[in-house]
């Protein structure tokens, strides 16, 4: 779960150091204080959300919105469940195996869903060409071409001389 979050946050343009996962038992008050103090100082050093180096800035809210919608989608959920089953079967829960599994299975599905959401939100305002979509979503035109073609097949999008638009 944490690894998925880290990779998705990095993909959406958020420094994944902003997410912390720590353990403190009920008896470890002093350790908890140490953890929280260290963490708050780390965030203070990173600065406000979206302003750190390699962070997406103005696009961030839209990207994260797409990520939230992608996290809800059935496709991503299915991939997530299947990967969990695979780990259970192999009995290998090492960080390397989890990281590789997420990179190969969950992240591509997540990215595809995110781009789908971005394309739909872009074309719902006005018809867009593939290049405009690529600039909007921050992805390559080749990557988007497959997704728009799939959406076209499903009858969600249509294409004419001006580009792609939402079919009603």
């Amino acid at each position: 779960m944490a690894e998925t979050c880290r990779q998705v946050l990095n993909g959406a343009g958020v420094n994944s150091d902003r997410l912390a996962l720590e353990w403190a038992s009920a008896a470890e008050g002093p350790r908890f204080v140490e953890l929280i103090t260290g963490y708050v100082n780390r965030i203070k050093a990173l600065g406000p959300l979206g302003e750190g180096p390699s962070e997406a800035g103005e696009h961030l809210e839209r990207r994260l919105d797409a990520a939230v919608k992608a996290a809800e989608s059935l496709k991503v959920r299915t991939v997530y469940g299947n990967l969990a089953k695979k780990f259970h079967k192999a009995g290998d829960y090492s960080p390397e195996a989890i990281s590789a599994g997420v990179r190969e299975k969950i992240y591509p599905a997540f990215r595809r869903e995110m781009l789908t959401q971005e394309i739909i939100s872009c074309v719902s305002e006005k018809p867009c060409t593939l290049d405009e979509l690529a600039e909007f979503a921050g992805a390559s035109a080749e990557e988007l071409e497959k997704i728009t073609a799939a959406l076209g097949k499903k009858g969600i999008l249509k294409e004419d001389g001006r580009g792609w638009f939402l079919a009603r």
Binding site: A20, E22, P30, I36, Y39, V40, L46, P48
Partner: protein, 68 residues
Amino acid sequence: MTQKGFDPRILGFFCHWCCYAAADSAGVSRYQYPPNVRVIRVMCTGRIDVRFILEAFKCGSDGVFTGG
């Protein structure tokens, strides 16, 4: 790049049995710690989903601390 006056808003997901109790005991023993964390208590860290964390960042929190 520490900014003057930057007061981060951090969302904390704390397990009821571990981190939440630790935070409580730290408070009772009067340890000082930064007040930037807004706490959401969950009954178990396993309840937390990818969506919760993404939503927290979408709503503008500067960091998410998950304590199990």
